[in-house]
Amino acid sequence: MNLEKYLKVYKQFLHTSLASELEYKTNILVDLITAILSLIGSIFLLSIFFQNNGSIGGWEFEQALIIQGIYTILNGITNTWFNPNLTEIVKHIREGTLDFVLLKPIDSQFFISLKKINPSGFLEIILGICLLLFCIRINEINLNISFLTLTLITITCSISILYSLWFFISTTTIWFVKTWNATEVLRSFLYIGRFPLNSFSFSLRIFFSVFIPIAFITTIPSEVFLGLSQLWKIFLEVIVATVFLITSRNFWLFALKFYSSASS
């Protein structure tokens, strides 16, 4: 009953935001070119790294492409759902329109996390999947059910971690009002996810596994993809993702206690 209601509401969200985004058709074309160029650019950068080296941090070029593929998919998801919605939180709080969201008979986190959608991110997701399919061929990976389920589980966990990170930072807006730039900082850190974690020095590796778990976001799914990952790493990723999701949820509820609407 409840789920049904949320599904119905989400359908409406999809409808309205797609309708408004499709107003800008050339914009979507430009975004398509941007996504393709950006992928070409990062493969170009990788090829520079590999032009005189056989492997970087134990990853060969063909294997590093998998990380690119997964990064592209996750970036597409970020651009489709997280970015348009969570930058909206800042606006809601600054202009005091969060009041209207809170008054609705629907979960506020659901509303602000899924209200908008940016269809041009889909193109990136498709590009990333194409790259992954290509990687399956060149790395001669044989597909079977356990491989597919493990890959799906780890990617779902990555998405949850990524969402929690974005949501966490956007929530801090309730205190700081202008955290639009904090998401920009997060974005630049996430950029590291394009490269295998082992290619960084030890201290940075620790930083990127503990403080900003980029290791969990792209490297572990890629290892699973190659069939290299140990089971404990996958378990750890599931645990980290759950902790992140629960914490970000609680943090939101906690932050709402401090929310005083505009002019109060």
Partner: protein, 264 residues
Amino acid sequence: MISNLINSKLFTLLKVQYSNMLEYRVEIALWAISGIIPFFMLNIWTNNNLNESINISDVMLSRYFLCAFFVRQFSVVWVVFSFEEDSLMGKVSPYLIQPLNPFFRYFAQHLAEQITRFPFALIIAFFFFIFNPESIWIPNLGILFLSIVSTFLSFLIQFLIQSIVACLCFWTERASSIERLLFIPTLFLSGLLAPVVSFPTYIKSWIYLTPFPYLIDFPANLLSGNETNISGGLTMQILWIFLLFPLFKKIWSEGTKKYTAMGS
């Protein structure tokens, strides 16, 4: 007499914008932090000994990336985003009535932001030197002066390109997606992520004819003391400015003719 008037106008604008920017210190600090990608790249380069193949020592490469960070800090341009917002909100109309091209306002905004950003960039450089004490160096005054000039020229080139894109707002409502498209070659070809010397020859053969290597690679090489063609680089920078400026003037006058205020 007339130049005096313009000077005082610019000076007032700068003063106003500087006090405005000082209000948002945290925001600007976060912007500064989000520019640390070159350091991560440096980490990949030195940690995997990739620089041996391009004959740059660890120390020179770390200086290069530090300078790339600095040049990027003082050549960040976002005029298209401000202009897009102003034109969508209808704020451009009152600006157009004033006897001053509104781009002066944005120009002063950028300069003021750079002044505010300067201490934060210094703090980041300070931390960089704590971790890499061997890369401390003091460039001589002449080189320092020339690299400040070339950084400013790089800023001017980017400002002009973005202003041209911003003027497209007169025709389409979302010019910022074009800017995002242009940002991709800027990111990968300017030398922010990898010095241009490391590029494969088939790219190096034509890249020096484009404006990209003069945005970051040239000033960073100049400041860090890496090998570079000083007079050639400065000439190309000035040439590009002379090419772009008339284009901007043209598109501006065409655009303002086309412009219709909200409700007309």
